[in-house]
């Protein structure tokens, strides 16, 4: 099991009296693309936020890259190569596009590398280059998602957690975003993808977990999940 980049054991998360995550096990190997699907309120976002350090778990362990993450403050996660593209994008709306991207490199002191990374983001999303001086809050939803993903790329993640990257976006933009996600993955970045659009997620990833009211009920290869009758009925709309 030493090749697991992330290993989650009996993770429980509760806040405000709600048990959102009720003891889940999960692992992700180096270089893998894993989907986490499930209905609204199943606990997917809470799981992702906990993995990213934004919420502290009530029980269980999260071992990432050999380190027990429970003891590490959230602002040290990014240095270890763990990045989250949060639900609703979480861009800094009154910072410019470029300033948002610069925030991705906050913990690096290598200005040359940061600027090179930002240029690379501009290469992938020429729209952002055109608007680099514009306040991010004035961009369209799709462009904001590009900022959020670009910002995560500038932090050079080893494990990228993506929360609903397709949410609220036009199909053509979703396609573009997923193209970029596949491209980032092809460079060896490990990913955990939370998606409402289960079909798209499973077509993109190699493995998947199905989450239902705080528990993982099915874990299988993406192919098997796509042909799983129960999954088809519940999440694939077939």
């Amino acid at each position: 099991m030493s090749t697991n980049l992330l290993e989650v054991k009996q993770l429980k998360v509760a806040y405000g009296g709600i048990h959102a995550v009720k003891g889940i096990d999960m692992h992700i190997k180096q270089g893998e693309l894993v989907a986490l699907i499930g209905a609204n309120g199943a606990g997917k976002t809470t799981t992702l936020k906990t993995l990213a350090g934004m919420i502290k778990p009530t029980e269980g362990s999260i071992v990432y890259d050999g380190a027990n993450m429970a003891q590490i403050p959230v602002y040290n996660y990014v240095e270890r190569g763990l990045a989250l593209v949060p639900e609703g994008r979480g861009i800094f709306s009154r910072l410019t596009v470029e300033e948002n991207l610069l925030m991705g490199g906050y913990r690096s002191n290598d200005k040359v590398q940061i600027m090179a990374d930002i240029e690379r983001v501009y290469g992938l999303f020429p729209r952002l280059k055109e608007r680099h001086k514009q306040l991010a809050g004035t961009l369209s939803g799709g462009e904001q998602q590009m900022v959020a993903i670009g910002r995560a790329m500038v932090s050079r993640p080893k494990l990228l957690l993506l929360d609903e990257p397709s949410m609220g976006l036009a199909p053509i933009i979703v396609q573009k975003i997923f193209e970029i996600i596949r491209m980032i993955a092809s460079e060896g970045v490990t990913m955990l993808l939370v998606e409402q659009n289960a079909k798209l997620a499973l077509q993109t990833c190699q493995r998947g977990y199905v989450m239902e009211s705080g528990k993982i009920t099915v874990a299988d290869s993406a192919e098997a999940l796509l042909s799983n009758e129960r999954v088809q009925q519940a999440y694939l709309g077939e």
Binding site: F92, S93, R94, L95, E99, L102, M103, R107, Q144, S155
Partner: protein, 312 residues
């Protein structure tokens, strides 16, 4: 006409000090959505420490030039208020970070009263006079008119402009400034980016207190005195200035401070003639609070309040 120009000059002097203090309110509000009512007391302590230190320096090394002695006073007052601001946040506000909004607000009032009492224990209840280190400070005639401005007043305006420009450049152009802005907009995500939110919050208090100390020292120099009570009124006025400009907005605090100084000064200059002598210039305070009420009623977001909305 000359009265008017004179009131403008006085208003700019007052307004510069309001602006420096308003920045402290607005920076903290921008990051914590907390109105730090203890900030006026930090300003007062800045003023009192400056006076004490100037007396000390003058007695150790008499005959030094006034500007040098004043600088020495500032160099003492600034670090002390920085530590004070840092400690206030650490001790009084941080444990309440997740408490309902009203709790830290009440705490702020408590801190304010505590600081005032401590200041009274240290410096007594009666005013301390600001030593005459600048000699006579005879007023200059401005534009050959019957309008006067003193060296201290010139110093206040110049120093305030330099500090405000420095702060705005720091916030707009540096990495620390960017992190401060990011934290004020979305602290959770700023944390994900690797920003230590607690450090940024501490920095905000420290910077605001430093500006407050300078404002306090200038205030004492301008009025030739200071006492343990000055923090309340000057804090309230600067808070009004911050609300007028749009609380949370740095440029707004500067604009609101200057505007409030001008309104007050021009108002005080004309209230006598306008009411046939019924109300004198000592009623100048009503202008500040009339402005506060009008802003809260008609434009609660202030002159430069938030305009860019977050799009879903």
């Amino acid at each position: 006409m000359e009265t008017f120009i004179q009131q403008i000059v006085n208003g700019l002097v007052m307004g510069s000090m309001y602006a420096l203090i308003a920045l402290g309110y607005t920076m903290v509000y921008g990051i914590l959505s907390l109105i730090n009512f203890a900030h006026g007391e930090v300003v007062m302590i800045g003023a009192m420490v400056t006076i004490t230190c100037i007396n000390l320096v003058s007695s150790i090394a008499p005959g030094l030039p006034g500007s040098l002695v004043f600088t020495a006073g500032l160099l003492m007052a600034i670090p002390i208020t920085m530590v004070l601001g840092f400690s206030i946040e650490r001790i009084a506000y941080r444990p309440l970070r997740k408490a309902p909004r009203l709790t830290p607000l009440i705490t702020a009032i408590g801190v304010s009263i505590t600081l005032q009492q401590v200041a009274m224990l240290i410096w007594g209840r009666s005013p301390r006079s600001f030593p005459a280190i600048f000699g006579e400070d005879a007023p200059h005639k401005l534009f050959n008119l019957d309008v006067s401005i003193t060296n201290i007043q010139i110093t206040i305006i110049v120093l305030a402009i330099l500090l405000m420009a420095g702060l705005l450049i720091m916030v707009e152009k540096t990495k620390l400034g960017r992190a401060m802005r990011a934290t004020s907009q979305n602290p959770e995500v700023a944390g994900l980016m690797g920003v230590n939110i607690n450090t940024i919050i501490s920095m905000t208090f420290v910077l605001g207190s430093a500006l407050g100390a300078v404002a306090g020292a200038l205030y004492a120099a301008n009025y030739s005195r200071a006492d343990a009570y000055i923090g309340f009124m000057i804090g309230l006025k600067a808070f009004t200035a911050a609300v007028l400009g749009g609380i949370g907005n740095l440029a707004g605090a500067v604009l609101g401070g200057i505007a409030l100084g001008l309104i007050e000064s021009v108002g005080a200059g004309y209230i006598g003639p306008l009411t046939n002598g019924f109300l004198g210039s000592h009623y100048q305070d009503i202008f500040a609070f009339a402005v506060l009420i009008l802003v809260l009623v008609f434009r609660p977001s202030g002159l430069l309040g938030e305009r860019v909305a977050e799009r879903a």
